[in-house]
Symmetry: C2
Subunit: 146 residues, 2 copies
DNA sequence: TATTGTTATACTCTATAACTATA
DNA sequence: TATAGTTATAGAGTATAACAATA
């Protein structure tokens, strides 16, 4: 429980926020390294995954479901489009909006990237059984969902 | 499980990294609001808490135990010192280093702030029993400790 | 009036290189 | 030669205000 440095951080180690942040940073670090070959940051992966599984999704819907701000999505979307991974199509009902669709190349990339993501998860959670991992995710969702 | 937006994020919701980050952000948001009255950001709280519980700790030791970079700690330490919450004293063994100590005011503030931190934790984890909360923290530590 | 996507911009957080004084 | 603390600065991430086109 105590650190190898000899410094007592026991109060912080009792706080959910401290532990959640430390764990998230370690996991994300692994994720970044593992996704480097696909040139996808975590946020790129998340956005592309949601587009992949929700053809025609709009920017606003992406922002709402991933907790992003519209101005910060503009450059990201443009980048994915320029790489030929997604396309913008006119929205069938709302001429202000644009439906986002993964291209064939985008779908191909995401199939590989999602497989890679799953293997990264297994590597980073080697000290958790599959049951514990599922339980951990469920408890985290009880914190942030609603 | 599915979101109220009608957007399918089920793949992301199966990833530990995604859930850990979303939960950490929600917890930290609560923490920031709750600590505003003490004018302490999460990183200020962490640093002050470690100094409080480890009188004479050095900047390097703070960096190692909290995973911070030395240049980013300089302004923070100076700020806490200018607010009269900590003092720098010559290190007894190493004249390059400085021992950091909480002042009476710093100790007083931290007693209140740590009490407040604990109550914020209870608010943010209302949907987890104390047992679940302890189990969650233990599992998170199995990910980031080593 | 409100909303979608956008631009411009500011602010914060994090990271790197290099210096000084001591070890 | 290496380490503690520091400076300066660059880069990434996150935030707000305001606009044109459309609802």
């Amino acid at each position: 429980m105590t650190r190898h440095t000899g410094i007592d951080t026991s109060f912080l180690e009792g706080l959910l926020g401290y532990n959640a942040r430390r764990a998230a940073l370690v996991i994300i670090e692994h994720f970044v390294r593992g996704m480097a070959e696909f040139d996808l940051r975590p946020v790129d992966f998340s956005v592309l995954s949601v587009i992949h599984h929700n053809p025609g999704v709009t920017s606003r819907e992406l922002c709402a479901s991933l907790n992003l701000l519209p101005p910060n999505l503009v450059g990201l979307i443009r980048g994915l489009e320029q790489r030929g991974l997604i396309e913008r199509q006119p929205h069938p009902l709302d001429r202000r909006a644009q439906g986002l669709h993964a291209t064939a190349a985008g779908i191909e990339l995401m199939q590989q990237a999602e497989t890679r993501a799953s293997s990264i998860e297994r590597e980073v959670a080697t000290r958790l059984s599959p049951q514990e991992q599922a339980q951990l995710i469920e408890m985290l969702q009880r914190i942030y969902l609603n």
